[in-house]
């Protein structure tokens, strides 16, 4: 049996500033704020040493960048929703971990660097998340950028580099991706009470993603990334990557219990607060691509065995030696 996985839980968090700055303006934004607060409570009860963040709202070009300023401090204003107000912040980053994360990236062939500059512009999504889920900076964080040119292979290796750094450090982390589901914004100014998901198509794709994640099917969601990119995303970057990173950093399987703490429209986007905890076995009898994500042991007959007979396969069994329900 492997040692306990260093990533003890994961979250998907939306990055627009409305739940932080004006939750009272729309009941949906207020419910999302409550979702963030539930996540905050869960994290406070965990024994995590680190918040490991991948933000789709921090684009990079030269490889990946990792925030390594121990105490970044600024007054942030969103470039689009500047009228909602300013966000003063002071965070606590794990600079030592960031340095090793960067080393692990380089050892695996990635271009990466740490950034620790006074006034470096931390992205809105990371600022919103850290303000809401870790307001007292009890747990240090690290943030990695999303390279606009990166595709699946680079993103998966980026995540594996994070796991390697965690294993070296002995730290337990909670993995967080900052991303909306569908990301189309309304194209005209709306009143807060008029907010809704931009289109029925976006709504349907968001519902699919939520169904998958509620069933704990993180790897399956990751496998859908290219399709999600085509169907529900504005094409700012080459692909929709956050679930590749999250699945890779948590373990490429479907052995999770998913909780949707909130799903609402924020200026047209599908914004969801989702939690993923490790489960002892997959929630459903699904056609996994492999018996083991770690070792090739031959083709499998997906029509043959029952879920009972699959229970011994490593793709169906929790990778950590921890009791059921433990995060």
């Amino acid at each position: 049996m492997k040692n306990r996985h260093p990533v003890i839980g994961g979250y998907v968090l939306p990055g627009l500033p409305h739940p932080l700055l004006v939750p009272e303006a729309n009941p949906g934004w207020s419910r999302l704020r409550q979702g963030f607060e539930q996540v905050r409570a869960e994290i406070a009860e965990s024994d995590a040493d680190l918040l490991l963040i991948y933000s789709t709202m921090w684009p990079s070009v030269v490889g990946h960048q990792i925030q390594a300023d121990p105490e970044p401090e600024w007054v942030h204003v969103d470039e689009l929703f500047h009228d909602l107000g300013s966000i003063p912040y002071k965070f606590r980053m794990d600079a030592d971990f960031a340095a090793d994360y960067c080393r692990q990236c380089r050892d695996r062939g990635l271009q990466a660097r740490t950034v620790a500059y006074k006034g470096f512009p931390i992205d809105t999504g990371s600022v919103v998340a850290l303000k809401l889920i870790n307001p007292d900076n009890r747990i240090p964080a690290t943030i990695v950028s999303s390279n606009v040119y990166a595709d699946r292979a680079e993103t998966v290796v980026l995540a594996k580099s994070a796991v390697a750094a965690l294993e070296r450090s002995g730290k337990k982390a909670i993995a967080i991706v900052i991303s909306t589901l569908s990301n189309r914004l309304h194209q005209e100014w709306i009143k807060p009470e008029e907010d809704q998901v931009h289109s029925l198509k976006d709504q349907e794709w968001n519902a699919k993603i939520l169904d998958f994640l509620k069933a704990g099917r993180l790897e399956d969601t990751a496998q859908l990334s290219r399709q999600i990119h085509r169907e529900a995303r504005v094409h700012k970057v080459v692909n929709f990557k956050p679930f590749w990173w999250l699945a890779s950093v948590m373990g490429e399987h479907n052995l999770y219990t998913g909780t949707v703490f909130g799903y609402e429209a924020v200026f047209g986007t599908g914004s969801a607060v989702i939690g993923l905890r490790r489960a002892t076995r997959a929630a459903r009898d699904l056609e996994f691509d492999e018996e083991s994500p770690e070792r090739y042991i031959g083709d499998r007959n997906v029509l043959g065995p029952s879920s009972d007979s699959m229970s011994g396969w490593s793709s169906q069994v929790q990778v950590a030696s921890q009791p059921p329900g433990e995060a």
């Binding site: 684009p59 070009v61 960048q65 009228d83 040119y149 700012k236």
Partner: protein, 302 residues
């Protein structure tokens, strides 16, 4: 009131590398040299502008990215530090600038009345984007003129390059009308590169020019085609090519900046002055001037 006018339009790309290589006191990092072709091109531009009397620099920046409408800076003064989120090792620039708020408001009103979605940016804590700062610094390092900064409404990504083209043409027309109504003499800056595929690695010494070249020959051919049209005064033909150019070379014309400026200049048919072409981390960049007022006064066609 005397009718305002656009005295010049400039394609004024904003790679922070150029400011880095200049070593101005405002920028924290220090360089040995680098990207001289482009920097010397900006020198020639500045020399030309010394002979032109103008009131305000108006810049449309690809790095103030707004997915809902076109935004205009609407606070009289900004003073802060701009750290490039992509190249923080090269650009940490302390700026102190003034905004021509009345002109910005006039532009916003004309754009809104033309049917565009707009917003004035009134938050005093707002950090001015580095595209605006780099283009303005390289054009006028003394910072002795107020600016108007216009955001890039990301229609290319949200819809298509053709939609971006249509809205940029409309914004350019509204900009010209607003400038004429203001009575001011204005220099326009389109703050965009041409082809815009970057290398994703960086030399240990960023100014190591042995590493600098175009990302791909196809990008270069497209850049030359575009520059040839500028030199020939064929700006309407150029604008028609912008959607294809944008798609084929991931060009920073996706921002709408170049199209906006050519529309505001009413599609000059006189030759532009190309001060420089060069690459920055694989992207194609040109410093190009349309000495608009001079050509109008001399009877040249606009």
């Amino acid at each position: 009131m005397k009718k305002g006018c656009i005295v010049a339009g400039v394609l004024a790309p904003h790679p922070p590398h150029l400011v880095y290589a200049e070593n101005p006191p405002q920028n924290e990092p220090r360089a040995e040299c680098g990207w001289e072709n482009l920097r010397w091109g900006y020198e020639r531009l500045r020399k030309n502008l010394e002979n032109i009397d103008f009131d305000t620099l108006v810049v449309l920046s690809p790095h103030w990215q707004t997915y809902v409408g076109t935004h205009f800076l609407g606070v009289e003064r900004f003073s802060s530090v701009s750290v490039d989120p992509i190249f923080p090792n090269l650009f940490r620039y302390h700026y102190d600038l003034t905004v021509d708020v009345s002109l910005a408001e006039t532009m916003e009103r004309h754009a809104r009345e033309a049917g565009l979605v707009t917003r004035m940016m009134r938050n005093p804590d707002f950090r001015v984007d580095y595209g605006t700062i780099v283009s303005c610094h390289l054009t006028r390092p003394a910072w002795d003129k107020p600016i108007v900064s216009i955001s890039s409404h990301r229609s290319t990504h949200y819809f298509s390059p053709d939609v971006m083209l249509a809205s940029s043409l409309k914004l350019g027309h509204a900009t010209r009308e607003a400038i004429e109504a203001s009575g001011k003499r204005v220099v326009l800056l389109a703050s965009n590169s041409l082809s815009h595929r970057h290398f994703t690695t960086e030399a240990e010494v960023p100014e190591d020019m042995s590493r600098e070249h175009i990302y791909h020959h196809g990008q270069y051919l497209w850049d030359m085609k575009v520059i040839e049209l500028m030199k020939a005064g064929k700006t309407r033909e150029l604008v028609e090519l912008v959607p294809d150019f944008t798609e084929q070379t991931v060009a920073e014309t996706d921002s709408g900046a170049l199209t906006w400026m050519l529309s505001a200049l009413d599609f000059p048919s006189y030759p532009a002055e190309v001060h420089a072409y060069g690459t920055v981390i694989g992207t194609g960049n040109a410093v190009v001037e349309w000495a608009h007022e001079a050509h109008l006064v001399s009877g040249g066609a606009a």
